[in-house]
């Protein structure tokens, strides 16, 4: 399969601080890829570069062959690359339903040449009804139909994440970037989310996620990329990453206790 997203020798520096150094990887169409690494490894920075919120100091990100460096975030979304956010994934003062309606912004534009005029003379009725039906379907799909009338800001953390996913899916992306989607979720919520990610892939959407929850990452990913101090230190399927010495060192350090802990992780049967 061909690469849908290519990160080509991307570097990001904030003054003297190197947040990302020479990052280079591809994501192929239809894959579920995880980007992991200790806190401060540059994962979210990498996300921000890919979605246009940060300009790289060097290198380029290509999405389906288009260079993203000169594009604004909303233009990148229109190319079919959507994202969710780590903390604030909703429009807090609107209802869950209206959140998704805001997310369907691009869908309202396609068939209309003068949507603003249509709104003023009240001709937008048909396309509005179509959008409302789409919003209902999306909420149903992520399992939030019963919350449709509630203020998004008042939802539980895990549910806000689901709203964020519905918002991203509303843009009809070809690829979805999820920034720590299950942090703050309990085990059963995480399981639901894992199956949601798989369903997203079944819709033909490529998924790249940043996540700290290792069991979840190992379970869902086809391939894992490990970042430390802004560099890619390992890459491969979950089994290989689990036993990679460089990864263990990055996560646990080099002390005696760390080596013991690493041994326990690798051979849980002996512990």
């Amino acid at each position: 399969m061909s690469a849908i997203l290519s990160v080509e020798q991307v570097g990001v520096r904030f003054g003297g601080l190197v947040a990302i150094a020479d990052l280079h990887f591809d994501v192929r169409e239809g894959e579920i890829v995880s980007l992991i690494g200790p806190n401060g490894a540059g994962k979210t920075t990498a996300f921000n570069v890919m979605t246009g919120f940060l300009k790289p100091s060097q290198g380029e990100v290509r999405f389906r062959g288009t260079g993203l460096t000169d594009l604004q975030p909303h233009e990148i979304t229109r190319l079919g690359l959507a994202r969710t956010f780590q903390r604030t994934s909703v429009f807090p003062d609107d209802t869950v339903f209206d959140n998704v309606m805001i997310g369907l912004h691009r869908q309202g534009a396609q068939s209309r040449r003068a949507p603003l005029l249509d709104a003023l003379i009240g001709r937008a009725g048909a396309s509005e009804r179509r959008l409302r039906a789409r919003a209902e379907a999306l909420l149903d799909w992520v399992g939030l139909s019963e919350r449709a009338g509630e203020k998004a800001g008042a939802l539980a953390y895990g549910e806000q994440r689901l709203v964020g996913v519905a918002l991203a899916l509303a843009t009809e992306p070809a690829m979805l970037l999820l920034d720590e989607p299950v942090s703050g979720m309990n085990a059963s919520e995480t399981q639901v989310f894992v199956s949601l990610i798989r369903q997203i892939r079944e819709r033909g959407i490529t998924v790249l996620l940043v996540e700290h929850d290792m069991p979840m990452v190992m379970e869902v990913s086809d391939r894992i990329l490990v970042l430390n101090y802004g560099r890619l230190i390992a890459e491969g399927p979950p089994d290989r990453i689990r036993s990679d010495p460089a990864v263990i060192e990055a996560y646990l350090g080099q002390g005696k206790a760390a080596r013991q802990a690493a041994a326990e992780v690798q051979e849980p049967a002996h512990a």
Binding site: P73, T77, F85, T88, R106, L116, L131, G164, T171
Partner: protein, 345 residues
């Protein structure tokens, strides 16, 4: 409910002159209040729905007033290099349309800037813009008469070829003109806010990064909102010029901007009815107070009323009352749901 209330208000405003008779003092107060309320509605579109505070909103109002006045008065002005621009007077109704266009064009410039500068910087840009425009009006005496004021501004005449024209001379006629323009502005804002464009504005205000990530173009949305807002303020300015028939650079007074902001904030920014309610209260308060107290005391009452409103209802009158109704409804619903006797609160 949300549709009935504005309709009821509109009906009573239409009927009001019948009840009052043609009391010129009250009608005058209602007309100026109405004009300021239109300005407040236009500011609310920016402040309430995009979250951008324009503290120079009076600039658009004043530009509308001057453009409209100059279009209908005509002018003869030298612009350097020996070139003179001579403009013969056009009908005031044309001035009204040009005022909307000119103010909208200025709104476009400020809106493009707002793409780069937000928050406090946007406030500074708008304040500076208003001050620059005021200084132009004050010092370009050949065009604007400076502090001597533009006088004898013709009144607006509505008409169509073949039907004859209808000159808006009386206060009553002006009252209905202002009411009609105000209603039109209200409907336009209501339509916008309920549309896809309104959702884009709300999205940008609530969570800009997320709004960008769902494909909303921040620059375009904010620019369009500023253009529409400025054009409405320009329309209000034009009404003001043709009603008072005299304008001087004092229309750019910062105090007027503050009054408009107070109307929006006290009434409830980000609500359709907020600026209307706020506008009526703070526009008519001086009328109510004038017979009973001295002007200095009036201003103190003005301040006390504002503080009291924001103390009791921090989000403004309209959201405050809506919240009160919601709580009442919830309180009534609880005993029905639960069999146990409700604890009085």
């Amino acid at each position: 409910m949300s549709r009935l209330l504005p309709l009821a208000l509109l009906t009573s405003l239409v009927a009001l002159p019948l009840a009052l008779g043609s009391n010129p003092y009250l009608l005058n107060a209602l007309i100026t209040t109405g004009i300021l309320t239109i300005a407040a509605m236009s500011l609310n579109l920016l402040l309430g729905f995009t979250g951008q505070l324009s503290l120079g909103h009076i600039a658009f109002f004043g530009i509308g007033a001057y453009v409209s006045a100059l279009t209908s008065l005509g002018f003869d002005v030298e612009i350097g290099f020996g070139t003179r621009i001579v403009h013969e007077p056009w009908p005031a109704a044309v001035g009204f349309l040009l005022a909307i266009l000119a103010a909208g064009a200025c709104g476009y410039l400020i809106g493009r800037l707002s793409f780069r500068v937000r928050g406090a910087y946007f406030v500074i840009v708008t304040v500076s813009f208003a001050e620059v425009v005021r200084l132009v009006a004050l010092n370009w005496v050949e065009l604007t008469q400076g502090p001597l004021a533009l006088t004898n501004i013709p009144v607006i005449a509505l008409g169509a070829p073949g039907l004859g024209s209808w000159t808006l001379k009386t206060k009553l006629q002006n009252y209905y003109l202002v009411l009609a323009v105000g209603t039109l502005c209200y409907v336009i804002i209501a339509r916008l806010v309920g549309s896809r464009f309104g959702r884009a504005m709300r999205g940008l205000k609530e969570n800009e990064s997320l709004a960008l990530s769902v494909g909303i173009n921040a620059a375009r949305t904010l620019t369009v909102a500023t253009v529409i807002s400025a054009a409405m303020a320009g329309a209000a300015g034009s009404l003001y010029a043709h009603y008072l028939r005299i304008i001087d650079p004092d229309v750019f007074q910062f105090a007027t901007t503050v009054t408009i902001v107070i109307m929006v904030v006290a009434g409830g920014k980000g609500t359709l009815m907020g600026p209307v309610v706020g506008g009526l209260i703070f526009g008519l308060l001086p009328v109510v107070l004038r017979p009973v107290m001295a002007p200095e005391a009036q201003w103190m009452i003005y301040g006390i009323v504002l503080i009291a409103i924001l103390f009791v209802m921090p989000k403004g009158i309209v959201p405050g009352i809506a919240g009160l109704f919601a709580r009442l409804r919830a309180a009534r619903a609880v005993p029905v749901l639960e069999a146990s006797p409700a604890v009085p609160r």
